[in-house]
Amino acid sequence: MPGRPSEPENALIPLPTEVDVPLYHIRLGVKPPIFRVFISWSRGNVLQVACIRPLEDHLARGEGHETSDGPGLGGKVVEVKLGASDPNISEAQRRRIIYDSVPPFVLLQSRRKAFLTMYRMSSSSSHPSTDWWQQVLEYSRSISELLGSSKLPAKSVIEDPMIVLEPVEKPSSLKAAWQLMEIFYVDKHYFSWLPERLVDWLAEYDAILSETHMTVHSQLVKLQEKLVNLQVIENDPEYWEGLSSVLTVGWLDVAVKLLRLHGSYHLNQLDSRETENGLVETVAVLVSTMPRLRHDLPVGKSGQCCKTKPDFIKAWEKWRGQITKLDCSAFWVQCSHRPTRDGLRNLLQIMLGNFNSISTACFHWMELFISHFLYIRPLTVGFEEMHGLALKFMRLKSSSVSNGLMRLLIGILGENTEVVMAECSKSFGPWMVTHSAELLTADNNQNEILLHEERYNLGGISIVELHRLVYCQVLASHPLTWQVAPTYLVSCPKQGLGLLEILLSKQPVQNYPMILKNLEICQLNELYGISSCVKKIAGMHQWKHGRKGSGVYWLQEARDEARLNRIAQQLFECIGRSISDETFKQWEGLIELLGSDVGTAGGVGFLHRYRDFKRSLRQVKNGRPTRAARQTVESLIQLMKSPYTPQRFWLPLLHDVVELLNWKDQPLLNVSETNFLLKKLQELSMAQLCPEFSQTYLPPEALTEIRLALATNLSRAFLEE
């Protein structure tokens, strides 16, 4: 076939096997048998399905199915929304995210445009991505903000020593995923202190690492419940387990707080357990002075902030030296409380980077992964061996990747952009994949090429465009979100406008605000064809539903000359059928609205002249005599001269002016005009003999009356001249 490569892997469209085709099971709520099914696409991804049951006499002849649905049920109509949305996010929340993410997205797109223009204009000495990532970071932070408020440091914790875990809402996995991508793809600052950034991330999202398995967070929740009732806390092994776990994952504040709950701090016991208390306090001090390689440390957070690597190495060695010294000290022998001694020494082992202690204290592989960088390889930069380690720890904790968040992390660590995109789409939906594509390309030329390259097998569009189109389909599925879709569609260079046309042409145009919204979008995107189509539909709807004026208005807006001509013709015929003042009044407004420049039919031209004639005639009757009378006869002469004035109008027109022909002051028509009218009257009398002549409603003596009036006028005109 022309234009089609023969290799299957390069095929224009990947051939689906039966297995790949998605199946949606629809419960229609109609008992079998079903006779016919009708389906139709509604907006976006919404399908409408009608299921029709066979007639009852057919049923009776058949297998004798009972109609338990009720005797009157002939079928049901259901609406099916394809593509599942995240059940953890409520519909209202989802819509809020959709609306709020528009401004940052639009801002970033316009910046990108400006950035590319600038780059093209300037010499290629500076790479475009030199500070592009900062723009993306700003975008990422605004999106991150709208995904939910981050955990605030609760001040009340300090006041209540028994509360080690602040009660917060369950964090959203969408935000967790977003922040993971921000850490790994956007923020260049994080690259030097990745382990610390991961510790911060884990502190916020440990609760959602696993739905089924134990995590440090869930252990801490259990311990928190126990703390209130425990008298001698240090005798409980769970206290020491919890303590080592929180230390492993780097939650130093919680660890210090837990240590200070140790029984030896009680005033009544301080004397008898002096050495023990000293050891606990020393460990607490060591924990709270742990060196941390990061840019800043929030106020109230434990640890010793080191901004540069040399500073950190120095502080780290000193700190490790102190731990080793404490570990070897003789005070341990003097400590009589065995759980305290073992617990504290275990904490020291963790801080010294003992893998076994760390591994035992962690539950989830991700916790082990992060603590590995915190205590064993604190100087890790970038993706170095991260993927291998993650897989190793997963095996160690014998956990499978069941969670979308974890699959995403594995994809990121594996530096596999396709997997990341697929995971974003699968686990977090089209919103995520559309918006996160910007993060992927922030500082990665390879990804930029991969995602923005036009692909033959996608019909000539890029992956980024594909996902935006998919997202727009989702937006179009809801009456409250479809108006957001055009913003994204215009950022799709290849097929965005095509999809926008389809979207707009499927919008109902029954109400005025809706039409205006549609037209506004058309105007913005220069979709004149669709805009004219919308106006035509609106015009015809109004016309057919009795709102003739509105109908004509919209058809004029659409410049639909063909229809307007037909309307003019219809009006013309309608007025011609019975030319009375009442019918004319009824149509006068429409004639006005149609304007005089409609088409070439001439019908409207006549109607306009006729309207002027009637108007001046009315003025004469209302007592503004001579001038108006003169105008009326002028209109009359024009009308009679016009080839478009149908013959059936002649007699009524002349009959209307009988009064004016007998005008008291002066004859209004001169000799030649009167002669012209007499000629016309003669023509009319001849035509009356023809069988197809249409009779008017005028009395039979009208003709004689007019003739007499004309003759009188003629004689007066002679005298005058």
């Binding site: 022309p2 224009l12 469209i13 051939l15 689906p16 039966e18 998605p22 199946l23 949606y24 099971h25 629809i26 419960r27 229609l28 109609v30 008992k31 048998p33 079903i34 016919r36 099914v37 009708f38 389906i39 139709s40 696409w41 991804n45 399908l47 409408q48 009608a50 299921c51 009157g72 049920l73 002939g74 049901k76 109509v77 259901v78 609406e79 929304k81 394809l82 019909g459 000539g460 569009i461 594909l466 998919v470 097929q495 095509g498 999809l499 389809i502 499927k506 109902p508 145009v509 029954q510 064809g529 189509c533 539909i537 709807h541 016309w543 057919k544 539903h545 009795g546 229809r563 309307i567």
Partner: protein, 438 residues
């Protein structure tokens, strides 16, 4: 995932949605039609009697012509109805036009995208296709028959007219004034009547007519007319050369992918032409025409007649000659037993090819059709995939969605015993892409 919109009354037969999916019309077995509106949360907004017989199908007319429907009744009557009113409260449905035919029934009707004129294609039970054009843009009562032909590539079958049970028409949904009018059409015709024809000409299919072959045919027709005129009026003028026919020898020869060969030989005084159609399996049919300079009588003998009526054919309107010509056939030579149940033409916003689904008893075949025809003037087609129905019964298709009745195995998986559930296979969601599973 699903939400119930409305419950249909007893005797419902068919259902159809309007352009924006905000209204739907339901046809009943007593010949009445009910219209449901989203404004009234899809409860019935009006009901009116259309015909004495039951309604078989309803099709909405493009909204540029008002809120109107076409109703096909069981007896084959086609009637057009529109909603009119003096104000919002006095809305009623009135009949605009009735198309009656004593000889054949209307099976399906579809309206083209409104460009300058509204075109309506009606498929009849005798295998005929009629294309009507609306003459009045404001009223739906004046229609003109623009064309009438059989859904076959070649001339009318000498074996008589087929009897068709169902038909399906799908217009190309491409917008824009410059777009050529195209529609695809398929019939489900009475097989037994054509058994002999089917066996005999099993392998004979012409897909469109190659450009130069078509030209040649036109020239031939023109030449014949000239010959007749010359004989009748006893005048001689050398038009042959002007028409491009040289005396004697081979005039045109063309072999297309399906083995159609056209050969013309002429001599000074008499001439004959030959058609050879060689099927994929070597079956040869030929057409022979003889005309003599002595007499004006023309003998035409067609030995090979293509299989009538059952295949999906794409017709396109040739503006230059104001006629409908078959542009492509959506069937393989081996697919002779395909009865077309339904056709759907997918929207296209940037694909280099069109996507058409043809539902037959074998399953749903997805075809790619390249509209920019090659040098031979015919559209390239390719069957991309056949979504077989397995043991499931396909009960409906729409724009490449297939609704299947679920088999027993699946039913168990779905865990529903009371409700018969239906699974819809979504082959295509984005108009631009053929295949995008959600």
């Amino acid at each position: 995932m699903e939400r119930e919109l409305a419950t249909l009354g007893k005797g419902a037969q068919c259902c159809s949605w309007n352009y924006c999916g905000q209204r739907f019309a339901v046809g009943y077995d007593d010949g009445s039609v009910a219209v449901h509106d989203s404004d009234s949360s899809f409860s019935r907004s009006s009901k009116f009697k259309v015909h004495a017989d039951g309604i078989m199908n309803i099709v909405w007319i493009p909204p540029e012509f008002g809120d109107a429907i076409a109703c096909i009744c069981i007896d084959g009557t086609l009637s057009l109805w529109e909603e009119v009113g003096e104000d919002a409260h006095s809305v009623s449905w009135k009949q605009c036009k009735v198309f009656e035919s004593s000889t054949s029934r209307v099976l399906d009707v579809q309206f083209g995208l409104p460009t300058r004129y509204l075109k309506m294609v009606a498929a009849y039970s005798d295998g005929l296709v009629k294309v009507y054009e609306l003459l009045d843009l404001l009223e739906l009562n004046k229609w003109q028959l623009q064309a009438e032909f059989q859904n076959v590539v070649d001339s009318v079958s000498i074996f008589g007219k087929p009897t068709c049970i169902t038909a399906s028409v799908a217009w190309s949904p491409r917008r824009g004034e410059s777009q050529q009018s195209r529609f695809a059409l398929g019939f489900n015709s009475d097989l037994s009547q054509f058994n002999s024809c089917k066996v005999r000409f099993k392998n004979f299919h012409i897909i469109g007519m190659p450009n130069d072959t078509r030209k040649c045919t036109r020239r031939l027709a023109g030449f014949l007319v000239v010959q007749i005129v010359q004989r009748i009026f006893q005048i001689t003028f050398d038009l042959e050369k002007r028409l491009g026919f040289n005396s004697g020898g081979v005039v045109s020869c063309n072999v297309d992918g399906y083995g159609l060969c056209c050969l013309l030989t002429m001599s000074d005084k008499s001439w004959l032409w030959w058609w050879f159609a060689i099927g994929s399996y070597g079956f040869i049919t030929c057409g022979l025409g003889i005309a003599s300079s002595v007499g004006a009588r023309i003998g035409l003998l067609f030995l090979g007649i293509p299989l009538p009526g059952k295949l999906g054919l794409i017709w396109e309107f040739e503006e230059a000659h104001q006629r409908w010509v078959p542009a492509a056939e959506l069937a393989f030579p081996a697919d002779t037993d395909d009865r077309v149940h339904a056709l759907a033409w997918a929207p296209n916003i940037g694909r280099p090819f069109e996507v058409i689904a043809v539902a037959s008893c074998k399953g749903i075949a997805i075809w790619h059709v390249w509209l920019n025809s090659g040098t031979d003037g015919r559209l390239s087609t390719e069957k991309v995939v056949l979504l077989s129905g397995h043991d499931n019964e396909i009960v409906g298709t729409s724009n490449l969605i297939v609704v299947k009745k679920q088999g027993k195995k699946n039913k168990k998986m779905a865990g529903s015993d009371s409700d018969e559930s239906y699974s819809s296979t979504v082959v295509h969601l984005l108009p631009s892409l053929l295949y995008f599973p959600l």
